[in-house]
């Protein structure tokens, strides 16, 4: 006989038995141990028919193909660039992925990106644990201008972005800041007024801390409106 032992959206810890019997299947953050489905991450339960998974609440960013990330150029080589983006190993931008323009071998690569530049790129291929390829070709992928980098819990990125980008648009609208949220938990933020920038940072921190409450968008809106009147 199969039974589920947890409720949807419940917080579970590693090792907690989520379901007994073979009728349920483990998905991300859960594993099968004999008859049981067991959590292997600290996170929130999501039950979808027979599928039981744990959505992590915490943890470093793990690179995934297709992710848009915010990074910093760490090294300019002969055949491309190395980018630090919060993972254990740097990503690589090859000459062909460096720009929409054709880059000739032997060209001065610092003209495109140089040490310390902030970039938003997309992971195109992970060929091995230490071989991560990044591209700069695609809509929105580019070198970022001067701005702040805010590190957030990568698991909270979807909340900061909001449904169809609603949360981020709202913060942009209220603060006049430009913002790019990388899947790697790095937010680039740049505005004309440092006070508004600080306000945008506060709003992001608020989302990060209260990500689990419902009606968060309204709460953030109220906060921004209240601060605007000050």
């Amino acid at each position: 006989m199969s039974e589920i032992l947890v409720k949807d959206k419940e917080i579970v810890v590693p090792g907690e038995i989520l379901a007994k019997g073979m009728d349920f299947l483990p998905a991300g953050g859960a594993i099968r141990e004999g008859e049981n489905i067991v959590a292997c991450r600290l996170g929130l339960i999501s039950v979808d028919n027979r599928l039981v998974k744990v959505i992590p609440l915490t943890g470093r960013y793990i690179p995934k193909s297709g992710d848009m990330i915010v990074g910093e150029v760490a090294e300019v080589g002969l055949n491309g660039w190395r980018v630090e983006f919060g993972w254990a190993f740097q990503a690589n931008i090859s000459l062909k992925d460096g720009s929409n323009d054709y880059i000739e071998r032997g060209a001065d690569l610092t003209r495109y990106y140089t040490h310390g530049d902030l970039v938003v790129g997309k992971i195109v291929k992970i060929a091995g644990p230490k071989i991560i390829d990044l591209t700069m070709k695609g809509p929105g992928l580019r070198k970022l201008g001067p701005g702040r980098i805010i590190e957030i819990n990568p698991q909270k990125v979807p909340r900061v972005i909001g449904k169809a980008g609603s949360m981020i648009s709202m913060i942009k609208e209220h603060t006049g800041c430009n913002m790019i949220v990388g899947q790697n938990g790095r937010v680039w933020l740049s505005g004309t007024d440092p006070k508004k920038e600080a306000l945008a940072v506060e709003a992001i921190r608020m989302i990060e801390e209260q990500s689990h409450i419902s009606g968060l968008t309204d709460a953030v809106k109220k906060f921004l409106e209240k601060e605007a009147k000050k």
């Binding site: 910093e72 310390g116 001067p146 701005g147 702040r148 980098i149 440092p194 600080a198 940072v201």
Partner: protein, 254 residues
């Protein structure tokens, strides 16, 4: 990023919205964090946390001060407290931290070391002051010094039998304290002078000046850090700011 910190600061606004002369909040001193220490304190300063413990023992005095007790200060930038710290023996930053904190205490004669003499030339008290950084979110020197002074001013002697310490047994006699030095730092980033840098700001620091100041306003120790030169006027301004802010810290310790 560092440049951006400066650009924003030029407009007089800090990343976290504080005023230039405003400390992070909260600043909390917690006493008695280890019952096995003769004195101990933890300072929470914004998100920075520092633990200081005092252990006492007896030993021979230094030949040049046969009637005085000995103070030995150490610091560990524990790798627990920051991704930037490594395991292994204390590096230059840890040693500077320990020495700056030590100088404030030593040179102000905070501890009445003559009262730590048991038998001149033979036996004196040794005070071991150990600093452990638990979380580094900036401004470690000021936080560590505050914790050190708090721990010392709440230190009691252990029991002594003959020439031996009864480990784990304490008397009610407090460590003799003359005065409380407060160590306070002002930093210069670009054209701005400010206190209590955040981590972002620390990466952009051009110069810093730390002073250890008594209640009367005497300066007992100073340390300039950072790789940019300062005009005499700037030095003057930075010392003024550090002294002004030391008064706020002094209120916390009394």
């Amino acid at each position: 990023m560092n440049n951006y910190t400066k650009t924003v600061l030029e407009s007089g606004v800090r990343f976290d919205g504080r005023k230039l002369d405003e400390f992070k909040k909260p600043i909390i001193i917690e006493l008695g964090i280890s019952k096995n220490a003769e004195g101990s304190a933890k300072v929470t300063w914004g998100e920075t946390e520092v633990a200081v413990g005092i252990k006492m023992n007896v030993g021979t005095p230094y030949p040049d001060s046969p009637d005085k007790g000995v103070l030995i200060t150490g610091a560990e930038l524990a790798p627990m407290s920051s991704p930037d710290f490594e395991t292994g023996p204390p590096g230059q930053q840890a040693i500077e931290l320990a020495r700056v904190v030590d100088r404030g205490i030593r040179e102000s004669n905070m501890i009445d070391t003559k009262k730590l003499c048991i038998k001149e030339g033979e036996l004196v008290w040794t005070v071991f002051l150990d600093i452990y950084i638990l979380n580094d979110s900036g401004n470690l020197i000021d936080a560590a010094a505050l914790a050190a002074v708090a721990a010392l001013s709440n230190t009691v002697f252990p029991k002594l039998e003959g020439n031996q310490i009864k480990f784990g047994e304490f008397t009610k006699n407090k460590l003799p304290i003359n005065l409380l030095p407060i160590t306070s730092t002002a930093v210069k980033i670009g054209n701005k002078i400010l206190v209590d840098p955040s981590l972002d700001e620390e990466k952009a620091i051009d110069a810093r000046i730390t002073v250890a100041v008594s209640e009367k306003g005497d300066i007992h120790a100073m340390q300039k850090g950072g790789s940019v030169g300062l005009t005499i006027d700037e030095v003057d301004q930075m010392i003024d700011l550090a002294i002004k802010k030391s008064k706020e810290l002094r209120k916390l310790i009394k």
